[in-house]
């Protein structure tokens, strides 16, 4: 089969006659070691058994497969022996028939794959029910019960629950909001592909407008999905407030421009900034106060919609937080001096030893209570570690501890914490909807992981870039905003997309904490009276959706990487 000789160049065309040394072949490919010989015997036996079984259960397909296998094998061997391959046999030789093991494995695996496909096809199509009407489905099941055959997939449950799976209990009469969001996002994506890919829009107003629109997109979609609307009796008022606000802000804009050009003093700029903040906040307060939210997300949001909302929110919200955490963890500001740290910890420790440990040790119940009472002794240890590893840098210590604690615990505990612990951490009487709590928890969780990704990117930036930025006189903020972060984030885009895919998959966990997202709906289907106990089919459907979603994201990330030239330069 594969005599280890290269295809000799055709300098000797007359050598195309077949030359095969049986003894040498056996010595080299079967009896090279006793392990190989035993393995070949075992493999041959398994292949024979499987082939025999398949021949009985699916005669035609198996016979055809064996025939094709035999013909291609003979062709490959023949071409190999006369040292003249065509492209097909060359490929076959390299990929399927390179050794005796591979020849047998190829047949075995092909048969097994065909068997798998056949049984899945049987389950998913031939014996399946596609009718979402319960009566038809019942009749289908009964017909299989009569013959004693195993029924296939009941896709009716999935089809019947399609809307539930996608948006769950989103009110039917508000469906237009979903279409509006879809339409808006579709138009934005389409426009982006045009605007961002073409060179002539590079510095145009259109592109700047698109940027602003993209920044506003989360707010717009949130507003649409929540059913934010002006209260009907306040429409006039809102209009007037908006017009007045815009006019005032416009006036302020020109005034600021005039003032800052006339009197370029630093403190004046600060004052103007403060005025801006105050005016903007006032305008927003006046306008937003007139709006009301129509839908309660705890009830209206569900299914794939909720999954997408949480995943997108978590990744978007975690971005600024993650960048800050990464910068904080890497900050090199001069730390708190050791004398201050140790002095204050000594005082604190003494204070707690007196107020907490002494009463605790008066009447300890057991050893555990004694250990618990001695907790203030941990303060100096913490102070020592803080000085040793962070050199007194409080910011770095805080960010590191946050990142490592969040990364060290499972997501599910963080989610449960948001459900159970948030109400305890907030002032008495504050009620926050579960959806918001879970979203905040997901964002907090994601930010720790994102921080590590961004930190990786920051570390990849050569020192020279920092030094160059400093040497041309940029301030710290400018240095990071203009030089470091753009490069760092470009480097970590693949990692961030990977993280988003992970988050997209991890949102399934909120099904456990009681929100009905995509997987939650799939779990509920089996409890419907029409589709009692139907579990596999919704899960298979979900797997397809998740697989397709993740796959598309991964593919587009690879394309984006190529476009942005990550890994080059």
């Amino acid at each position: 089969m594969t005599v280890q000789q290269q295809n000799l160049p055709s300098s000797k065309p007359e050598e195309h006659h077949i030359h095969f040394d049986m003894r040498r072949f056996v010595r080299e490919h079967i009896l090279r070691s006793w392990l190989l010989a035993v393995w070949l015997v075992v493999l041959t036996y398994i292949t024979a058994v499987i082939t025999w079984g398949q021949l009985q259960s699916a005669t035609v397909v198996t016979a055809v497969v064996i025939l094709i296998w035999a013909v291609t094998l003979i062709m490959t061997v023949y071409n190999e022996l006369r040292h003249k391959h065509n492209p097909m046999t060359l490929w076959l030789k390299a990929n399927l028939y390179s050794s005796i093991t591979n020849v047998l494995l190829t047949l075995l695996l092909t048969l097994l794959i065909f068997a798998g496909i056949r049984s899945f096809f049987d389950y998913a199509f031939t014996r399946a029910n596609f009718s979402p009407i319960p009566e038809v489905s019942d009749a289908w099941e009964a017909s299989y019960a009569e013959t004693g055959q195993e029924p296939g997939a009941n896709w009716g449950a999935v089809i019947d629950n399609m809307r539930n799976m996608l948006v769950f209990r989103y009110p039917q009469e508000e469906s237009w909001r979903l279409y509006a969001v879809l339409g808006y996002l579709g138009v934005m994506l389409l426009a982006s592909t045009v605007v961002y890919s073409q060179e002539r829009f590079r510095r145009s107003r259109l592109r700047r407008a698109m940027n602003i629109l993209w920044v506003l997109t989360p707010i717009i979609t949130f507003g649409l999905l929540l059913g934010v609307a002006v209260q009907p009796e306040l429409v006039m008022e809102t209009l007037i407030t908006s017009v007045v606000s815009i006019a005032v802000l416009g006036g302020l804009f020109f005034f600021t421009k005039w003032v800052t050009t006339q009197y370029p003093v630093a403190w004046l700029g600060l004052v103007m900034g403060l005025i801006w903040v105050a005016m903007l906040a006032g305008a927003l307060y006046l306008i937003v106060g007139n709006f009301s939210v129509k839908l309660n997300p705890d009830q209206a949001w569900g299914g794939l919609l909720l999954t997408m909302i949480i995943a997108v929110f978590a990744i978007v919200a975690s971005f600024p937080l993650g960048v800050l955490l990464a910068l904080g963890r890497r900050s090199h500001i001069r730390g708190v001096p050791a004398w201050l740290t140790y002095g204050s910890t000594a005082l604190l420790t003494l204070y707690f030893l007196v107020t907490s440990t002494l009463p605790g040790l008066q009447d300890p119940a057991n050893l555990f209570a004694i250990i618990l009472a001695l907790w203030p002794l941990a303060i100096p240890v913490a102070a020592y570690l803080f000085q040793k590893y962070f050199k007194g840098n409080v910011v770095a210590a805080f960010c590191t501890v946050y990142i490592e604690v969040i990364r060290g615990v499972p997501l599910i505990t963080v989610l449960f914490m948001s459900i159970i612990l948030f109400p305890i951490l907030l002032p008495k009487g504050t009620e926050v909807l579960s959806t918001w709590r879970v979203m905040v928890a997901a964002a907090m969780f994601a930010s720790a992981y994102l921080a590590e990704n961004v930190r990786g990117g920051l570390q990849a930036i050569p020192r020279g870039q920092y030094e160059a930025a400093e040497s041309i006189g940029l301030s710290t903020v400018q240095k990071y905003r203009l030089i470091v972060l753009p490069q760092a984030i470009r480097v970590v885009i693949p990692a961030i997309v990977g993280q988003f895919i992970g988050l997209f998959k991890d949102t399934t966990l909120i099904a456990i904490v009681g929100l009905v997202e995509f997987l939650g709906v799939a779990n509920l289907i089996s409890a419907q009276t029409d589709w009692l106990g139907v579990r596999r089919e919704p899960y298979i459907f979900l797997m397809l959706i998740y697989f397709a979603g993740s796959w598309v994201m991964a593919a587009s990330s690879r394309r984006m990487e190529k476009q942005m030239g990550v890994g080059e330069r």
Partner: protein, 539 residues
């Protein structure tokens, strides 16, 4: 020239303190600390406000104190746990219940890491196979499991596969192996260790020491002679010789196992038993019973009536020892299990069974306590150090072997398949990171394939593999918390029950987070230590 020399610094030239980076840094940090402390104080204030109502920090004397927060750990848990590594009872404390949970998490993590590593390594190598089909199947496996959520896979495995297995009577035996798949989970053959296995373990230890010594000595000899010695062969030979001796010694020592037989069963040695049972059934040879039942000449009920009834202590190795010998002799038997030996003895005394099996010393002491001790006799039986215990359907349950409950099977299989896919990619990347020239150089030096892998490829690939592998192991340990979705009582599931029952939310979360952080630290510490050992020493 004079202009070039630095002008002496005047006082107003020095950086004012509000622009001095050092001062700003410390100042900013102090403000940061104040903000953090204020935030924490606010949260703690809210906590104490809210918790006052819940009463979860109340001391026995009625006052509220944070130091009393963990007193609840001593209260009775009062919930049952389906499976546990250590003995547990609902009357045990919450602390014990949470320990059970922690051990269960540890169990899943350890088994999961072990099997996921094996699966991942094989798949990673399969990804690099020169057979197009093999590498593509591996690729699709990896792609599929990496791109679908773990929780979804767990639900599918648990609800869509394991719970849909047939009932216990129709348990599936894949490929005819002694492995049973049923609604009750997965039952596998296991090993039972009889008292004489201690000798075998001593020999095992001796064998390992011998192997290490021979390995080192041969290595020195190899260097001295400059000749290659087949160290694996010699060490394997030494191991087999020592273990063989061990087995011989362990089986040669007098048996510690015995049966106590009531006078209704007239036997004086184990060899008599088949004859007695055959006589009861009216057949000459017990080997024919099965065929006789199959062709209808003998009724199954008759066989059941004639079956030997045995009293044993639950889960003991003596039972496996006797059962294996009875099965070998084709003797039909029924087992009556008790929790303790005295209960088993009482059952024997009442005549519920014809014989009782256990250690001969134990049986002798107990025989004296029997009212009519002369009615029973003690017969010694053979003992093997290690017996294979094969699961056997008895009534509505499996007896013997290793039991995997559906929940445990689901979480273990799910974690192994999911993490295995990630590990496969890591292994593939590691193997591919070794330059081709290394392989060629190894071949040029005349190293064998095994030596090439062991000495050249693996050490270099390991450096690339270990760091991401660490994070995968950590992920597996953390993902084991999804066990709550399939009803396996792991750390988080039990903590959650504790939380719901006791209402101590803050404390339970603190304990859970501390436990998971500890687990993460242990895993990363072990692998970092290993990584330091194998990593390249630069400059």
């Amino acid at each position: 020239m004079a202009e070039l020399s630095p002008t002496p610094r005047k006082k107003q030239d020095s950086i004012p303190f509000w622009r001095d980076g050092r001062v700003i840094g410390v100042f900013g940090q102090i403000i940061f600390v104040i903000f953090v402390l204020l935030g924490m104080a606010w949260l703690l204030g809210n906590v104490s406000d809210n918790i006052g109502e819940l009463g979860s920090f109340r001391c026995p004397d009625g006052t509220e104190s944070f130091s009393c927060g963990f007193n609840f750990l001593g209260i009775d848990a009062q919930f049952d746990i389906a499976e546990s590594v250590i003995a547990y009872d609902p009357s045990d404390s919450y602390a014990r219940a949470m320990t059970v949970g922690a051990l269960n998490t540890l169990k899943v993590s350890v088994f999961g890491i072990f099997f996921a590593t094996i699966l991942g390594t094989f798949t990673g190598i399969a990804r690099l196979s020169n057979n197009w089909l093999v590498s593509n199947i591996a690729k699709w496996y990896v792609d599929f499991f990496r791109n679908t959520p773990l929780l979804l896979q767990l639900f599918f495995i648990y609800f869509g596969v394991i719970l849909l297995f047939p009932g216990i009577r129709e348990a599936v035996q894949p490929l005819g192996l002694p492995v049973y798949l049923s609604q009750r989970g997965i039952n596998l053959p296991g090993l039972s260790f009889l008292p004489s296995s201690r000798i075998l373990f001593l020999f095992l230890f001796a064998a390992l020491v011998t192997v290490v010594i021979i390995w080192v000595l041969l290595g020195m000899r190899e260097q001295r002679l400059g000749k290659s010695i087949n160290r694996v062969l010699w060490c394997g030979l030494a191991f087999v010789v020592v273990m063989g001796t061990g087995w011989f010694v362990a089986t040669a020592v007098p048996s510690s196992q015995a049966i106590m037989v009531s006078s209704s069963l007239p036997v004086s040695s184990f060899e008599d038993i088949p004859g007695v049972v055959a006589e009861r059934l009216g057949v000459s040879d017990l080997a024919m019973v099965e065929t006789a039942v199959a062709d209808g000449s003998l009724e199954a009920a008759a066989v059941n009536d004639a079956a030997l009834t045995i009293c044993v202590v639950k889960g003991g190795a003596p039972e496996t020892n006797l059962a294996n010998q009875l099965i070998a002799a084709n003797v039909p038997y029924d087992v009556d299990r008790s929790d303790r030996i005295d209960q088993a003895l009482r059952a024997f005394e009442k005549g519920e069974c014809e014989l009782i099996v256990g250690r001969s010393s134990v049986l002798t002491t107990y025989q004296a306590t029997l009212e009519n001790s002369s009615q029973s006799s003690i017969v010694s039986i053979d003992e093997m150090p290690i017996r294979v215990s094969i699961p056997r359907i008895e009534g509505l349950n499996f007896q013997g072997g290793i039991k995997m409950t559906p929940s445990f099977a689901a979480i273990l299989i799910g974690l192994v398949l999911y993490t295995g896919a990630f590990i496969a990619e890591i292994v593939r990347a590691g193997m591919q990171s070794v330059p081709k020239g290394q392989t060629e150089a190894a071949r040029a030096l005349g190293l064998s394939e095994g030596q090439r892998l062991r000495l050249i490829i693996l050490p270099q690939a390991m450096r690339v593999i270990i760091p991401p592998l660490t994070s995968q192991y950590l992920n597996l340990a953390k993902n084991s918390s999804l066990a709550i979705a399939v009803g396996f009582a792991d750390m988080w599931a039990i903590s959650y029950t504790t939380l719901n029952q006791s209402g101590r939310a803050v404390q339970v979360f603190l304990i859970v987070m501390a436990s998971y952080l500890t687990l993460s630290l242990i895993i990363s510490f072990l692998l970092n230590w290993y990584n330091r050992r194998i990593s390249l020493v630069e400059r």
